[in-house]
């Protein structure tokens, strides 16, 4: 059993941007408190930020890529999933044009992942059909 590590990060729920300190032991988050040094929340947290973190460790998380075969979603490898997507997207793009493909980006993931998301759409697919949940 390892010692608890402290990791500083930003809350992943609403847009306030509260600084949190995560207590981590044996690759699990065991406790969260507000970061007193954080300019936004100065140590405070709400109930979601402090306590609603067990989803990270839920056994209902997705652990493998899934692909639909004979109507059912079944486990597959990354290689098969990637190849299926690459073939299908390329053929749809070549048959129906770039504007027949759309992407919904994620307002919960990092700036870095969002940058890559739109870069993928604009370079690989060649389409500006990219939007987020900012309208809902």
């Amino acid at each position: 059993m390892g010692e608890a590590n402290l990791v500083k990060t930003i809350c992943g729920y609403c847009g306030t941007g509260c600084g949190l300190v995560l207590e981590v032991k044996d690759n699990r988050i065991i406790k969260i408190r507000g970061d007193k040094e954080a300019p936004v929340n100065k140590g405070q947290t709400c109930v979601k930020g402090a306590f609603a973190y067990e989803y990270v460790h839920s056994n209902k998380r997705l652990f493998h890529p899934l692909i639909r075969k004979a109507g059912q979603l079944v486990e597959t490898t990354w290689d098969e999933a990637y190849q299926f997507i690459a073939d299908k997207l390329s053929s749809i793009r070549d048959t129906w044009g770039q504007s027949s493909i759309s992407m919904f980006a994620c307002a919960r993931t990092t700036n870095e992942s969002n940058y890559i998301t739109q870069k993928f759409m604009r370079t690989v697919i060649g389409s500006n059909n990219i939007d987020g949940c900012n309208r809902t």
Partner: protein
Amino acid sequence: MLLMGSNTTEAHPIIANRIKKAIKNGLKVIVIDPRKIDMVKFAHRHLQINVGTDIALINAFLRVIIKEDLYNKEFIERFTIDFESLIKQVERYTPEYAASITGLSAEDIVTTAREYASSSSSMIAYTLGITEHHCGVNNVFDIANLALLTGNIGRQGTGIMPLRGQNNVQGAGDMGCLPNQLTGAMSIANDEFRTRFEEEWKVTLNPHAGDTQTRTFDRLENGELKALYIIGENPLLADVHMNHTKELMKKLDLLIVQDIFLTETAEMADVVLPACSWGEVDGTYTNTDRRIQRVRKAVDPGPNVKEDWVILSELSTLMGYPMNYSNSEEIWNEVRKLAWEMYGGISYERLEKEYSIHYPCPTEDHPGTFVMHERFHNQETVGKKSPFVPVDFTPPMELPDDEYPFTLTTGRRYESYNTHSQTRYYASGVKVKQTEETVDIHPDDAKSLGISDGEVVQVRSRRGELNVKAKITDQVVPGLVFMSFHWSETPTNVLTLNEYDPISGTAEYKACAVAITKI
């Protein structure tokens, strides 16, 4: 501060705490909301407005301020255009006329207008109560009219503050995940910016704006859209008129969903890709007031689970456009290089030392921009003038009638988050107060329907129906009921209306007509 359409205590609890602290130090808050939300207890006044009548109210504010000569003449002359057309537009919005639409008293409307205009600094904060209407963009234009009329913008303690609902909804748009914008909020139509990206990415970019989510569903309906790639979103449960959304998604040739759970949307997919969650990723988020802050990895993900950018880079490479990044900092440095006007000075190293930096921050020695639009108070430069955009009140698209006599308005609850795929998992020992959906109804309405608290009732709209427990509360007024959309067991969006703002594509989540019957 005018707090409009924001149940801050439940949706942005820490911001609510800061507002309450400011109230103790003398801030006057006027809550403008159809429900008697928690902030009302701390407010100087509550304008309990009829759902969807904000423009009638704001136009009356504008008229009072103009008639009583309380506007900032010098500011308007130097920095704005189209003032005359605003005067003309608001002429018919007398306090009495606005009172008849909004359900407020003419006196409260006049007093609030005077207070906003004559305070040394006034601010407006709003949330989805303003935007989730068929006239959401017009609502925002009218808020901007109010700030411009009084010069309440560009100084600390003034301005317009939309409170953002997701940790990185600001960042996602800023990074270019919008149909009309490249990274750094640069227009895709701007040749100079587009060329900058074309040179770095070594491709030719399409200069025409793409489809919004709303338009995507329209094009899906008419068969033009064949493939949809969704990352970390559950539109089936989150979007209006759920039964319709589900039928549309079935028409796709290819649905790819990348998520942390097998959501209701993922269950419909052809391929599902397992992504890392918060706590497993490194990078930055941009919060509601433009702060860039560092997000750090705390735990290792499962062996077959990958970060969003890793998945997309690997797929991109396979499809013939190699992307090779070894970490999130490398990606961020590419962002800083391309959109240097916004992020050039915001290095990981500085964030480590300074915690957060507000963009725009073009260079390493720039402190970041805490207050935007300061040029309005800088005597040397005038710059581009801001137009007033006069707008007219239009009632909600579906008003209550004999068959559907209640207005349903939707929103969020304190302990839950959106479609609840994450907040189902609280740490053990935490007692959650609201564990299932309720339809919140006024005691008078409950009495006339013969419904008791906790009784299961049927709620029905022209689009769908569901059964849900009634919660009797005077948070709502007679004729108005409230629900959230957190629980898939009670999918509130089977009821909501698929009418959209024509400019933003945002749906009218805040108003539709329903009937409620005892079972």
